[in-house]
Each structure stands twice: as structure tokens, then as C-alpha cells.
Amino acid sequence: MRTGKTITATSAWWTLGVATACAAVYRGGLNDSHAVAVMTTDVGLGGSVVAIGSAADKSMSRGYVPSAIQTITITDDPGAPGIKNGTPIVVRIPAGFAMTWNETDMTATLGGTAAGKVGAVSYTRANHRLMIAVASDFSAGDTLTISDLSFKNYLDTGNTHLELDFNNDGLADAYDGKTVTIATVFHCGGRNDCYATMAMKQDRGLSIGGAVFMMVRCPPQDIERAFSPVWRVSYIVDGYRGTGGSRRQ
């Protein structure tokens, strides 16, 4: 039986007597009951590390017409190359991002050390994926540049990063560090139209009785310069009477 669990006032002495031998279940001390530790550097997960990077961020206003991509560079693992003959390289527009590749662009300009190791381009998944055929294994550190392709139907707003699936296994292996941004087009609205009017409900006389009424909007020092040494006006406008001015001190 666990110590202390049925203590009453009359058994207080008993509790004291066993206190030093009580179960660890009720002991404690510093801290709370929580701990966390985090790695501060990244570790590879065992596969080839293939990188993708665009030459620059890509920004477009929302629209449909084809817009040229920034040159994309794919770099295979410098130690254990992973791009293999017969397995296409896939460059994906992230799922849910409303934009497509321009499927009429069937001829990309290819460059880099691996330019001769790849073949035709094609598009799948409703033109969300660019497929680049691979004709021979890449060597360590091989690079492939891709240009003269384009996006279209970029109807989303916000930004995203292109994804690389170099071994066509369906998982994103790397993300482009540059962004593709579709600028917001303002279509906001609410009630009413874009027109407004308001009429005075009473007539007002147009005469100003024997005085000049002026309305100016300028810094006080300019008023002083304009009306030096003393500026003082009186006005009577349609029954309203008053004075105003600025007096040099």
C-alpha cells in the first residue's frame, strides 16, 4: 500500500514517521515536467541531394498569357549522383497553386554539363509538372540549366517555390530557393456603384459685404510674411460674421 494515501489528521504522526521512506511517486524538485532539445544542423537522410535553383525570383501580375521562366539550374549530388538514365526529372508547381506550365513550349534551351544527357520535355498532371527525359546517368556535380519555357494561367495570388522530384517517386526532393510570385490584382468591392452626389438643401447668397473673405492653407510663418505687418480681415458672408487674421507680435 502506498504511503500517505489515506492520511487523516489523527494519522499525521504516522505520515511524518514514514516520510523519508515514502515512494518516489510523490517526490519532486526542480523544473517542470517538460524538456526539449533541437539539432542545430541538418543531416542528410541517406539519398542523393539534388538541388534546384532559379536565377532570380519570378514575379507576374495575375493573368493568362505565357510568361517566361527564370533560368532553372539543377545540380546533382557532388558525391553520389542520383539522376539516372530512364528516370525523368520532374519540376513541379506545388499542388494547389493556380498556375501551369505552358504546354506549347516543347523546346527548352538546355545547358550545363548535363545538357547532352537529357532529352525532350513534356508536361503532365494538367500541366503542373514539367518532365525532362534523362538519356544517361548524371555524373557527380553535373548541372543542367533549363530556359525558354514559360508559365501561363497564373491565377493564384501569393508566392510559391518550384519543387524538384529528380527520381520521379512522387516526393519533393528539393525546393527552389527563389520564389514565383503572382501579384495581387484588386477586385475588391462592396455595396453601391462608383458614383456619388449630394445637393445643398438651401440657397445661399453670393455677395460678400464690403470685405474680402480669404481662405488660405499654408504654414503660419507664410501667412505672416504675406500680411506683414498686420493682417486682419472681417467678413460677412450670408449672415455669418467674423474676423480672422494673423498679427505680427
Partner: protein
């Protein structure tokens, strides 16, 4: 009689508090990823905690789980382990105490616990569990880092227990057997009849004196409802967090969320207030970092100086308030735990023992002389000078450090502990519990969180209270166990004054503690 009894206990226990030497003090260190291959990688870490035990009644454990990032720590996702069961292939407890990895079927984490009877400090190095990163959709061509989290838990074994304590005075909705006024014994997870007055039904003293009598508990002596078999009743074994969620624990949760998720898990202006003892501030620049500032030297609550957060006296270890129920549920989902039911709450307090009318979590009606001061205020060693329960009348006011009454030689009463070793079940901050008295909550099951929140930061477990439109946004959890500015009645195990209420309007009094059904 009562006052003299309290005095005697206080005199006897004061010397015991003088000698704090040990701590639970769970620490995770040196996390690393090892031996990646075939879609798996070993997550290695060191783990230690003090005052661990395993005896014939139960044991404590650490719930250990990992979050991974494939973008150098910007975004964090829950890691799925490779296999379930006890000590699955590839898992190793490293060097140190004989321990077991117990991995539930969903493989969202592991309970690490003593494999044999014993007590004392656990300090194991080079422990490893296996992350199945392919199952999480992570390419082997990625680089990754992990955060390893450990939460101290207590194991509550399967068995019968009582709800209600047979109180005949200060009756406030306590459970009873039918309309007898006597405690009700739960002997299985089978379906129960709530109310109606029939023999064998779980009554609630006709909802007497509960807040919102007619709107919150939908059963009474004449109206009956059915509590489904799938609703966790506490009969089956479960693990419970040893203490309430602390400030740093909640901050660590916030600091793994996206900005959109953080926005719903923190208040727009935060609730930093030293009188309420809420110490959370955040930095103003992106990425936002949440930390504590009890010593009030870090500047604005929403534009704090990061270098002055989380100092040695910044209150990180104090139980965290303002955890609204939907936030508590989000924490539970994120940690792959779940909310507890109010029946499980009573079991964790009382254990298998016969109830004592008006008892507190430590099994009797004795409130030790209340705290009048503390040492190490807001530090890792914050310790009250006396007392065993944080309720109205304690000084200083506000919630106290998690586990503050337990020391190197404390008894159950001294520590303010429930039967199985959970701390502060009475007082400090309200526990938030799944209600039996509302239809929407009776569909709750023991399904744990999966570590994944909605894009808005909410829990998204469909059986959980407050689930609306794909997210847990409702305030459906009730209150149990009392709070630092509440009276002693609310701190009683069976008191249900606030049990049927989802929002008591006093958000500085509410905390959270999660559980998980045993595999």
C-alpha cells in the same frame, strides 16, 4: 477541530520542506539523426529525469516525440516512428537504466519507462528510436533536423474506481449512484445511463448548485442520457501528464507553429500580466519567438527583446494560464495526446480507493497551512514555504511552478499529489475535462491527436469537443480541480460546480493537462 488539525500537520511538515535535493527535472540532450537508409533514420538523444519509479501499483514515464524540419528549422512537422509495440526493432535505450520503449499503434511517439521495479534517477545516453520519414512524405534526398520533446507522465492502470464522494454538504453536482447520494463505481468501459434516477445510473445530485444548471449538464434525476461505450471512462489504462502545461512548454508549442497557426494560439495582444502570473511575450520581428519575462526587463509584450527572454527568473516553469479549451486541445493534438474526461480526472486523483467526502486530490480533506512566501520565485526552483494546494488565500497569488510542492521526501499529502503521482490536480489552474453532460462531447473517443494541426493552428480530431467545420474551435471542455483564486470547494476531487461550463470567463485561471490511452 479542522483548524487544529491543519496546524498539527503544518508543524510536522515544515522541516521536510527544508531539504530539497532532488527533482523530476526531465532533460533531453544531444539530439541527432543517425544511419539513414531505406526510408528510415534513427533519432538519437540522451534522456534523464529524477525520482522515476516503478512499483507494484504503477510507474512514471516520459512521452517522447519528435518534430522534424526539412527547411533548416522554419517549419516543423510530426515524426512518425517505424513500428509499434514494446522495444520495436531498431529502438535502443542506450546506456543507463533498464528502460522500455512502448510505441502505440499510431506510432506518433513512445512512452519510455522503467522495465523493472525501481526508483531514482534515470540518465540514459544514446537512446534511439526510428523515424519512418518516408511515411511522413519526406524524400531521402532531403536534409533534416529534429526537435525531441519529452513530457513526464504517470501511468494510471486499468481498474475499477469511484466517481463522486458521497458528500452530503456543499453538494455541487457530484456524481452519485442513481439518486442515492453515494459514490458510483465504474467497473468497465461499458455504456452508462446518465441520470434519470434509475438503479445503476450515474447521477449528478440533480445538478444541484452547478453553474448553469439547466444549460450545461443535460441530465438530472428525471432526465436521462446515454454515455456511449466509446467515451473514455477511466476504467482502461491511460497515461496522464504529471503536471499542468508550463509556460515554456506552451512557448515551445507556439515556436513550432507557422505564423498563421500562432495567430490563433496566442492572444492578439498577449496576456502578459505579472499579477496573473502570465509571463509570455513575443518578439516583433519575423520569425516570431515566444518566451517568458517574469522579471519584466524584455520590453513590450509584443515586441520583446529576445536576448532578455527566458532568463533564470522569467517563470518558464510556472503552470501556464490563458490556455483556452480549444488551445489546450490544439496542444494535445500537436503532442499526439488527447484531452482527459472528467471521469478520468477523478480516477487520477482517487485511484482505486474508497472515496472520502470532500477529499482533495491527495485523498483527504486536509489543506496544509497556506503558502505565505516562496523562495526562488519564477525560477527553476520556485518553492512555496508551506502548503500543498494553490487556492485563494495563498501568497503570492497566481499559479505556481509545476510540481512545486513535491520535494525530496514529500508524502502524497505534502506533494498535493493524486494517487498515481500526478501533481496539482487540486488547485493551481483549472483542469479542462471532457464533459459527460453535453451531447456533443459524449461522442468523444480515446483517439489521440496525430501531431498535425489545421493550417489555422486548431486541433482537427473529429471526435474532440468543439469540433466544428473541420477544426476544434469551440469552447466545450469543462473545469475541474479548482484554481489559484478559487475557493477550496472547487478544489475537491468530485466538485462539479464548473464541470458543465465551457467558459468560466476567468481565463487567467485556466490551464491544461493532456492524457493518452495506454497502448
Amino acid at each position: 477541530m479542522r483548524s487544529s488539525r491543519i496546524l498539527v500537520v503544518a508543524v510536522l511538515t515544515l522541516p521536510i520542506f527544508a531539504g530539497i535535493a532532488a527533482a523530476n527535472n526531465v532533460v533531453v540532450a544531444n539530439p541527432d539523426l543517425k544511419s539513414p537508409g531505406s526510408g528510415l533514420a534513427k533519432v538519437e538523444f540522451d534522456l534523464s529525469w529524477d525520482n522515476s519509479w516503478r512499483d507494484s501499483t504503477n510507474y512514471d514515464a516520459c512521452w517522447v516525440f519528435a518534430k522534424y524540419s526539412t527547411d533548416s528549422g522554419t517549419n516543423w512537422n510530426h515524426a512518425t516512428l517505424s513500428a509499434s509495440g514494446t522495444n520495436p526493432a531498431g529502438f535502443t535505450v542506450g546506456t543507463g537504466t533498464a528502460l522500455d520503449f512502448v510505441v502505440p499503434g499510431d506510432k506518433k511517439g513512445a512512452f519510455i519507462q522503467r522495465s523493472a521495479s525501481g526508483t531514482g534517477t534515470v540518465a540514459n545516453t544514446d537512446m534511439q528510436f526510428v523515424w519512418n520519414f518516408t511515411a511522413d512524405g519526406v524524400s531521402a534526398s532531403k536534409k533534416a533536423r529534429v526537435k525531441v520533446f519529452a513530457i513526464e507522465m504517470v501511468y494510471v492502470p486499468q481498474g475499477s474506481f469511484y466517481v463522486g464522494d458521497g458528500s452530503v454538504s456543499d453538494v455541487r453536482g457530484q456524481f452519485e449512484n442513481g439518486t442515492s447520494g453515494a459514490a458510483f463505481q465504474i467497473t468497465s468501459e461499458g455504456e452508462l445511463t446518465l441520470g434519470g434516477g434509475g438503479a445503476g445510473s450515474l447521477g449528478n445530485n440533480n445538478s444541484t448548485s452547478m453553474v448553469g444548471v439547466t444549460s450545461y449538464d443535460d441530465f438530472n434525476d428525471t432526465t436521462s442520457k446515454t454515455l456511449p461505450a466509446a467515451f473514455p471512462k477511466g476504467y482502461k489504462a491511460f497515461y496522464m501528464m504529471k503536471t499542468e502545461v508550463s509556460h515554456r512548454q506552451y512557448c515551445d508549442f507556439l515556436n513550432t507553429l507557422t505564423p498563421a497557426q500562432q495567430a490563433n494560439m496566442e492572444d492578439s495582444s498577449l496576456n502578459f500580466n505579472v499579477n496573473w502570473r502570465n509571463f509570455i511575450k513575443k518578439t516583433g520581428s519575423s520569425p516570431v519567438f515566444f518566451g517568458c519575462d517574469a522579471n519584466e526587463n524584455a520590453g513590450s509584450a509584443t515586441n520583446a527583446n529576445i536576448s532578455l527572454l527566458n532568463q533564470t527568473n522569467d517563470g518558464e516553469w510556472v503552470a501556464c494560464n490563458f490556455i483556452y479549451p480549444h488551445r489546450g486541445e490544439a496542444f494535445a493534438d500537436w503532442a499526439a495526446l488527447r484531452p482527459m474526461t472528467e471521469l478520468e480526472f477523478e480516477k487520477a486523483c482517487r485511484g482505486p480507493l474508497s472515496p472520502v467526502a470532500g477529499e482533495y486530490a491527495w485523498g483527504n480533506t486536509t489543506l496544509e497551512t497556506q503558502t505565505t512566501s516562496m523562495t526562488g520565485k519564477s525560477s527553476v526552483s520556485e518553492t512555496p514555504n508551506q502548503g500543498n494546494c494553490v487556492i485563494s488565500g495563498c501568497s503570492p497569488g497566481g499559479a505556481y511552478r509545476c510540481g512545486c510542492f513535491a520535494d525530496a521526501s514529500s508524502s502524497r499529502q505534502n506533494a498535493g499529489a493524486g494517487y498515481y503521482g500526478a501533481l496539482e490536480l487540486s488547485g493551481n489552474l483549472y483542469e479542462r475535462t471532457v464533459r459527460v453532460g453535453i451531447a456533443a462531447s459524449r461522442s468523444f473517443t480515446d483517439a489521440p491527436g496525430d501531431g498535425v494541426l489545421s493550417s489555422s493552428g486548431y486541433a482537427n480530431e473529429s471526435s474532440w469537443p468543439g469540433f466544428v467545420g473541420g477544426e476544434v474551435t469551440g469552447w466545450e471542455l469543462g473545469h475541474r480541480g479548482g484554481t489559484y483564486n478559487g475557493d477550496s470547494l472547487s478544489a475537491r476531487v468530485s466538485d462539479r460546480f464548473w464541470a458543465g461550463c465551457g467558459n468560466n470567463g476567468l481565463h487567467y485561471t485556466i490551464g491544461f493537462r493532456a492524457v493518452r490511452s495506454a497502448p
